[in-house]
Every structure is written in C-alpha cells, then in structure tokens.
Symmetry: C2
C-alpha cells in the first residue's frame, strides 16, 4: 500500500496530553506542543472541566492547534438505572465542553463490567443504549462520537467494546443510514493483534466511520496493563502498514500519539518527550 | 443453557500442574492431585522431558489419573529456516512423549513474532506451515493437536493465534475434511472477552474441534500479564455460561484448571491450593 510520509508534516500530527503524563497544567502543555511544531492536541477532561473551558479553547486556537479529540467518556455500564443515567448526564456535560473546544470528536471509552457483574453481554447492551441517548446531543452540538474499541485486556474494567468490527456493528445498529455523527477511533495499541484488522479497517472506511487514528507501540515485555505503552518504533506494531490501511480507507485526519508510560516517558521532561515524538512520527509511523 | 453440575464430579476435573507453581517434582504433584480426588492431570514438558517418561506415565495411570493435555509446543515462528525446523523437531519429540503419557491432546501455544519482526501475518503463516508438518506425526502417534488461541495481550511474544474463530480457520484450512487429529483448546482466560465467543464455541462444536477446556478467572485489577490469573470464582468470567456453551457444543471431556499465579496461589501449600480448586470446581464453574 502507498503511504504518505509524515516527514515534515508535523502539522498532521497530534499529541494526546496523556503522553506528557499530566505533569504540567494544560496551558503549558498547549504551548509546548505548539512550540514543538505539532498541528493538534487531544486534551483530557481532568485538565479542562474545572477550568475556564472557553479560555482553554481560545488558547488552543491562538497557539495554532486543532483538537483531534476530547478524552474521554464517563463509563456507561452501571449497576442500576440511577447510576446509568448519571453517567449519561456526565457525558452530556463533557460533550458541551467538546463543542466549546471545537474537538474533532469525543472519545467513547465505554466502560467494562459494573461492579459485581459478570454479564458482558448486558454491559454491551447498556453501552449501546447510552450511545443512543447521546447521539441527539452529539448531533445538536456538532461533535461526532468516536467509539473506541479497547484492547481485550481491558474488557472487564475499561471497555467491553474490544474490536473494530464490534464497534462498527454498534454504529450500524444505531445509525443504519450513516447520517449521524457516529464512528470509530482506531488506536493501534488496542487493535494491532486482530486477525481481522485489515478487513475491519477497510470496512470502517467503506462505512465512513474513521474519526480518529492513534499511535503508540506494544512493548515486549509489557510490564503493566495500563501504563507501559511504548513510543512509536520501540515495539511490535507495524505502524506504517496500519497507517497505510487507515489512509487507504479514506482517513486524512490527524495522527495522534497517546502513550501512557509511567516508568519511561512520563519521567522525561516534556520538551524531550515531544522531541522524540516528533522524530518518531516522521521516521517510524 | 442447561448445565451439568460438577458437584461430586471431581473425576471430570483436571489440574494443570502450572496451577501448583512447579513447586514440587512431578511425582509428588501426581500423588497430591490423585489424593485430592481429581480425575486428570495436565503436566508440562519441563517436568517430564528430562525424566523417565514411561515411568511418569505409569505413575499417572497407577494413581488413577488420565492426562487431559500435555503442555506445550515449542514456539513455531522463527527468524530463519534452520530455527523453524529445529522448532518442528522439538515438537516431534514432545509429541512422542505425549503419546507415551497417553495425553488426550498436545497443546499448541504457537508463539508470537520472531525476534525483530513486526510481521504478524508472516508469523501466522509460519504457524500454519508448522502445524501442517506436525499433523502426520500426530496422526501416526494418535495424539490430537489442540490449537490454543491465547489472549491478544500475548500476540507479540507467546501466540499469534488469538481467537477461537482464527484457530478454527486454521483447522479448516489444514483439515477441510475433518479427518485429522486437529482441534482447539478453549481456555476461558484467553477468550472470555470475545464478542463472538458463543457463536465461535458453537462453530467449534459443529466442526467437532473442541479438544480441551481450561478454566481460571480474570482478576480486576490484573497486576501481571502472565502470572496473575485468578482462582475460579474470584474474577470477571462467567464460568457457568461458558461451560454450558462448551458442553452444548458437544464437549464432554475434562475441565482443567490452569492458574498461573505467582503472588497468590503459588505461595500456598499444594494441598491447600488443590482443596480450594476442588471446592471452586464444584461450586463456581
């Protein structure tokens, strides 16, 4: 597959602030990411919700950045109806902030099993119902919902949507005519192992569902299920092949680095971390 | 789905010696497992290969145990042809021992990416070729090959076969007429998250491919990718639902506990560990 080069194209690259380990206030992250030459940022609610959302949005714009995504939804499956509806309300509030930020999408990390439950199918039904509830808000606010399948190792506690195909099935059920702001986020860390990866990416493209593309790498060995992601190029994932497939499927948006790495990258100074990201985006992705 | 009870049926239950943490020589494990009332054992090559294989086989028989499976294959994907063929030879030797032990099957944990490779599809092709090579030996020796899909978190370094459907596809390619000793091992730890789990189990049954069924549990949180499996009942997996599906698919063989647990169960005395296994088999599986 032909692959566009990212060399000299940091304007196409985005940094998820999780990559910086939330070390500094969002204002400093915005300036550092812009200074390093990137074209976009993906902030987290924890950095935004208690602050001046409109002011943060303005600072991002003034820095010349776009917002490749807003992270992330409150988990949807809940042990009772009250908790389920509280989750939806939380997500509605966050969607309004996503609109203020001008985010390209709102990331749906859907949640796993409610406390004490072993019924994964019931959790999946709750996810579908919750997304259905949020779609009208998303439409009214003009913020697409990006359903993100997470790696199966998170099925119990973070997301019971675990493959691109499964996410696309949910999209097809809730939006059969493909006229609603609903799609998928493809994160290589979560999907690289999938035996049906390439057909699933092609299907996502044919359905016009690709809303975001995230990169990092799978380290061997991986020492922590959550906080040991690798920098692009340091692991087992064939990043150029996957990006080629995603772009062949019609995606032309930002390529976003999202690297949870408590023991390695979060310990580096932000500027150094960003410099390595910039280098790896251009050489290894 | 109707579910046969395992209460009073430890004769249907097997203990994989990995559950005991390889604390004691195989002879002691055999005696302890038999004394606790189980009907079967699944030993590892590391406990068998340097010993008197025929003697171990005799001891197992004399203790009244059957062998639910022999663990496990040498990894198949290799960086070059010499290493690939050496792996096959290793597996041939182990298959002969599996026959001596009277094992119900030889577990194929197929391996991940060869050192330095990011080509998962090439690794998968090598796996298919290796299994094809081993099938004639398996047939001659009367030992079925049980292809075990491993959890996607092991795709890079332990097994690039990661779903039941993917394993069944390999089986269908290599044995289209279903007259060879080739099938799958279903281990709940590896497959419980799969959105297509129940159809895949039904398909495995329809294809007459279910050769083994392994149980443990998925802990929340899981603190180690390899050695933090839970005892049945302590985690997120709906064990009765999965066993019901496996039995509805026609499997009537042993239910085997395989619990890698460095910080919890491997620290308990073997007799205590086996007593808890026995209790959980009967109440929680």
């Amino acid at each position: 597959m032909a692959l566009s080069s990212l060399a000299g194209r940091l304007d196409r690259c985005s940094v998820n602030t999780a990559t910086l380990g939330y070390q500094r206030p969002i204002g400093e992250s915005i300036e550092a990411i812009a200074r390093a030459g990137f074209g976009a940022i993906a902030p987290w609610r924890r950095e935004v919700e208690d602050g001046d959302v409109a002011g943060i949005a303005r600072q991002i714009r003034d820095a010349g950045l776009t917002v490749s995504g807003y992270c992330r939804s409150t988990y949807m499956p809940a042990p009772d109806r009250t908790a389920f509806e509280a989750g939806i309300e939380d997500n509605r509030r966050a969607l309004r902030d996503a609109a203020t930020l001008g985010a390209a999408c709102y990331l749906l990390v859907v949640g796993g099993l409610p406390q004490g439950s072993r019924d994964l199918q019931a959790a999946r039904r709750q996810v579908q119902e919750a997304i259905e509830c949020l779609l009208s808000d998303a439409m009214a606010l003009g913020v697409p919902l990006a359903l993100e399948p997470l790696h199966p190792m998170y099925a119990a506690d973070r997301a019971c949507i675990n493959t691109i195909d499964q996410a696309l099935d949910v999209c097809a059920t809730l939006d059969p005519h493909r006229n609603k702001p609903l799609g998928v986020a493809i994160d290589v860390y979560h999907v690289w192992w999938d035996p049906n990866l390439y057909p699933a990416i092609a299907r996502a493209g044919a359905d016009r569902r690709v809303l975001a593309y995230h990169v990092s790498d799978w380290l061997v060995p991986t020492t922590d299920l959550l906080l040991d992601r690798g920098m692009m190029g340091d692991g087992a994932i064939d990043l150029p092949a996957i990006r080629a497939a995603v772009e062949a499927a019609g995606y032309g948006g930002p390529v976003e680095a999202e690297i949870f790495s408590a023991q390695t990258w979060w310990k580096r100074p932000i500027a150094e971390n960003l410099a390595v990201c910039a280098e790896r985006f251009q050489a290894m992705c």
